[in-house]
Symmetry: none
Subunit: 248 residues, 2 copies
DNA sequence: AATGTTTTTGCGTATTTATGCAGTATTAAA
DNA sequence: TTTAATACTGCATAAATACGCAAAAACATT
């Protein structure tokens, strides 16, 4: 087996399980642990995974959630303020997960009367806090780290829906590669969300602009509106504007 | 389990509960307390938490370790201990909402390998905390105060399922009136849950025994097992035993 | 095809890391 | 103050890793 194939196999394992053990891989691929260790080292240097003692973990494996919330909260507040202007009474709105979305929900005026659909447990919990809005959760198998429903059932049920707006808390957005993400199962659902909505809105702090992850959620043309904490005239946003995206 | 994974688990616990006990973590992660102590020390040095005698606290919120604000009453712990004995590897288990259920989930051994189905958002969130178990959420319209899915769609989907056990966090149970509750929509779902399970287990602190609410969920005969914090021989439980219910 | 070069791989050995244990010291709760 | 829980120290062990080296494989060149 070629090195390339091993690398592909390892990344596949990482995609599915979010972790690999050197010892396991050594047996599965019938090579020495030294080789595996060197493979993991290379993949780490390329930024495809995080090597740790005993194996490797997916890049999406982070445990500083709370610190992140506190850290970029002001930016996310600004984004939330802009985003909420788009939501009007009577609308049917699709929401993803993520801290930016949570911030958006917190900023919704209490008198708003709309229906929100989501697949994310924390998003649902935050939505339930609001007095007027109706909340619909599309359930199925829940993904541990993303805390959201995934799987074919979710995709199918999303296909039956026609929403006015879809807000995506975006990890990575880039003019050439579009919106990208890490986990296969998450991407399946996000794709379905985009298909079910008349307009797709990407919420993204400026740090995440022009970054790319491993797997594609959608091309840049499929994004209708991009909201960042920056001024719409900012230099960083020019390329997105040129690609025909409305900037708020 | 890799050290990094342990660290992630610990930080996740901190994010949710604002505190962790070394003794708990040692059991949950099946490593010695020494290891946990070293983990906490490292995470402290990295600035992710504050280590204290007996465990660790969140950096952002400074509670003391042993106040009962976060952790709940001892009665519910006792009930949880008894209830978890019923759950075995490979089982399909249906859970309602409520703090007793949350306590049950917290007490589940980390090596347990089972599938849990629920309609309650807080229950789902707690289940996601567990390293091994699979979580399925049955979604639909969410009810604000109960924080759970309700409606015909939920009832229909429950009807398609055949579970081994159904645990109900019970508000009111009485020999003559059975399990009773307040809201119509909640009752519809609880009825469906009972129908889908081979055995129904009612979790109830003794205060709630022999109380009645407005609407009936099920007759007393439909309850297979009743779990309270009392000794099974307790006087209070005699009438239930006479009604043919197994008491734990 | 023959040759030289580079890359890849596995092995032995030394080193580092991770973890648990036992005994003692310390802390905090009753 | 007493007592039980928790922490620390040093040590033992096993697992994982780094390093140098040599064989093997892949590749390039003639």
């Amino acid at each position: 087996m070629l090195k390339r194939e091993r690398h592909a196999y390892i990344m596949h394992e990482i995609d599915i399980h979010n972790k690999v053990l050197s010892s396991d891989l050594s047996i599965q691929l019938t090579v020495s642990e030294d080789t595996i260790r060197r493979d993991l080292q290379e993949l780490d240097e390329k930024g495809n995974l995080t090597k740790v003692h005993g194996g490797a973990l997916s890049k999406s494996f982070h445990f500083t959630l709370r610190n992140n919330i506190v850290y970029s909260q002001p930016e996310k507040r600004i984004i939330a303020q802009k985003a909420r202007e788009l939501i009007q009474d009577g609308m049917l709105v699709l929401l993803s997960g993520g801290t930016t979305i949570i911030e958006l929900i917190k900023s919704l005026p209490p008198e708003l009367n709309a229906t929100f659909i989501t697949v994310s447990i924390p998003t649902a919990l935050e939505l339930l806090d609001h007095p007027n809005i109706e909340v619909i959760f599309i359930g199925n198998k829940l993904l541990k780290n993303a805390q959201m429903s995934v799987g074919a059932e979710v995709v199918l049920r999303l296909a039956e829906i026609q929403c006015d707006l879809c807000f995506l808390g975006t990890n990575s957005i880039d003019v050439d590669h579009g919106i990208t993400d890490l986990e296969l199962e998450v991407i399946e659902v996000k794709k379905a969300m985009i298909r079910s909505a008349k307009k797709t809105v990407s919420l993204s702090i400026s740090k995440k602009l022009n970054t790319v992850q491993r797997m594609v959620v959608c091309k840049i043309e499929e994004v209708d509106i991009l909201i960042t904490e920056l001024d719409p005239g900012d230099e960083l946003l020019k390329t997105f504007k040129k690609a025909g995206i409305e900037i708020l």
